[in-house]
Amino acid sequence: MSELVHLLPVIVLGIASGILIGVFPGLGPASGIMLLYPVLLGLPVTDLFVFYSVMMSSVQYYGSIPSIVYGVAGEITSTPAVHYGHAEFKQGRGAELLSGTATSSLIASIVGVVIFAISAQYTDFMKYFINNNPRLILLTAIIALISIASPQKILALFFVTVGLTLGHVGYNTFSQEYFLSAPGFLASGIPFVPVFIGFLMLPEIYYYAKHKPPAVDVYMGEFNIKTRLTNLFRFPPVLSSLRGSMIGAILGLVPMVGTSISSIIAAAVEKKVCNNNQKIVISAEAANNSACITVLIPLIFLALPVIPSESVIMALAERNGFGIANSFDLLSSISTLLIVILLMVNAVNWILAGIFYQGMVSIYVHLYKIIYPLVIALSLAICLYEGLTNHQIELYLILTSIAVTAGFLVREFSVRVALVFGMLLSASFSSELFRFVLLNF
């Protein structure tokens, strides 16, 4: 109980971030974490993972709201909600659908949590991945999937290779040599913050800042708590929710593509099974939510980030002492707590998203003019802050300028993700490869 009280500010921060990231298309979990960088730097690893799990679980509840109401897709996961959900909304069934997706997300979170809890009981199997060869295979699979998942596969492959090379810049602890660097100049490698913010985040935020929400004047249902509560407790299509949850839970374990394609696959399966717009959206949203919980398994068990936002949180966690060597210790100490927190948080989000969705829509309508420019300014301020505290302000300014320019030139988001992910996985990949040679030849 005392632990829960201690973690309460982190949980509240996670839910609040989840609401903002979900409601404002284009922000995304990775950018959200980056915006909170100075705050998160001070958190112990347990608090960091609790925050991340809460945020990821919350985002899914609110991400569907602008997609259904305005037909605006913040991420690829929202595609079914935009395609089928917005059509339902225009027919005047928005209120029902928003409550239904909230309930299906709750069902999905329970499925995800159960799978997480079962996995935590079989750590001996997971420990197999401490060995070099299976870990190298996993890393290679992630790198390959980064390219395959992109619509521009060749370009993504090129950028992931560039990322792997750039990630190698700095002092190499194995060879004890400096690669494209010297003591005092890029010794720690190319800083992550300006690359992430400049190359990945700012071009995306700028795109959404330019697009104002379309005017929607459709009846959303009475603002009557009783009616909304009735809607919320009206059982959603259970089979659709469960089908979506299971698809999401399994695909969440697939590196790089799990969370992004789970909702699309769930929607496709549901269309085959019943071809009902509401059920399709409910299944897709359920898939999203369960994937967002199972995606935590490779991260917390094996210190292996499998989606972009995990790579950002992993960079912070590593800095605060987390790695493959202590991941199982951390897991044994927080798994029960995390399960309890996830269940509680999902219940809170269910109520918030399922009843007060009109409030969330108002947040978007009233704040979108301010929020995007503020995010851009805040991102640049964070680059500045990091540069100042690291005594490398000139380097950070130059890198940010280069990264922003390059980011605007490379239009495809998944290609930009490929470079950033390549940079982040570079050290692990090269050391596993080096050990592979030593161990096997």
Binding site: I130, Y171, G184, A187, S188, A381, T389, R435
Partner: protein, 273 residues
């Protein structure tokens, strides 16, 4: 409202946030968590925390970054292996560029131990020179690399060992305890945890050691010196009297001594300067 006003509002916001997380002490590291610098600063951190101080640990990939961070705050200290400065290929050559960086406290000195994996306890000293090449997990810290290479190169008969480097001591320990890739580990810290997990130690880098093990370089006594690793706490300039006193008090505290009692393989601990 212009973008400039928004920008400065954001700067103010970020700076406020950074002030809000002011800690009593910040310890910066250039080795990954779970390694010697982390392990040996833990007793000091525990005793500072026991007295109600907030201690933040920050791990960086290079010495330069750890120093830059430590020199930016009066309450920040770098935890270093002093050998890293003296060696030409050491991890911390950039420390020479900061003449005002100096040692505040010596945290520990310890011997290295060569121990088997829990699955390979049948291995004995004689197997080290056998036909089969044994794989030895070790952290990629330059100190252990130099010590290990010195012993292997000068040994006669030749030790048939192949070093398998890991990013951190903790990853090497995880590989030897939970994995099946390696046969042995060459390690100076966390030895107790390896032994309690079922490992058997065969030799040490010092003639006198806690487990009374043979000297690893015994076959070339004249060529191989005893090898200890030490860990220090360094500060930029002179730390405030308040911080120095708090560190000295913590090094003498019961919490610190109790913590050390649980780590008998370390020697020369808590020697403040």
């Amino acid at each position: 409202m212009s973008i400039i006003v928004r920008f400065f509002t954001a700067v103010l916001f970020v700076l406020t946030l950074s002030v809000c997380r002011a800690d009593n002490f910040v310890f910066t590291y250039y080795y990954p968590p779970g390694g010697g610098t982390d392990i040996w600063s833990a007793p000091l951190i525990a005793s500072l925390q026991d007295k109600g101080h907030v201690v933040k640990q920050e791990f960086y990939k290079s010495c330069y970054e750890a120093i830059a961070k430590a020199s930016a705050y009066p309450n920040a200290f770098v935890v270093i292996q002093p050998m890293d400065i003296s060696q030409s290929a050491g991890r911390c050559p950039s420390l020479k560029d900061y003449p005002t960086f100096k040692s505040v406290a010596n945290l520990s000195a310890a011997s290295y131990y060569l121990c088997t994996s829990p699955h390979k306890t049948h291995l004995a000293l004689v197997d080290l020179t056998g036909r089969e090449t044994l794989k030895v997990a070790m952290s990629s810290a330059s100190v252990s690399t130099v010590s290990f290479a010195n012993i292997v190169n000068n040994s006669s008969p030749k030790l048939n060992l192949r070093a398998i480097p890991y990013e951190a001591n903790q990853s090497a320990r995880a590989a030897v305890i939970a994995g099946t890739d390696v046969d042995l580990i060459y390690v100076a810290n966390g030895v107790e945890s390896i032994v309690s997990a079922g490992s058997k130690c065969l030799a040490s880098s010092t003639r006198k050691n806690y487990y009374n093990l043979p000297f690893l370089g015994q076959s070339a006594m004249d060529k191989v010196q005893d090898f200890y690793v030490t860990i220090d706490l360094w500060a930029f300039g002179t730390p405030s009297k308040e911080h120095q006193n708090l560190i000295n008090e913590a090094l003498q505290s019961k919490t610190f001594k109790d913590f050390l009692a649980a780590r008998p393989t370390s020697i020369n601990l808590g020697m403040d300067k």
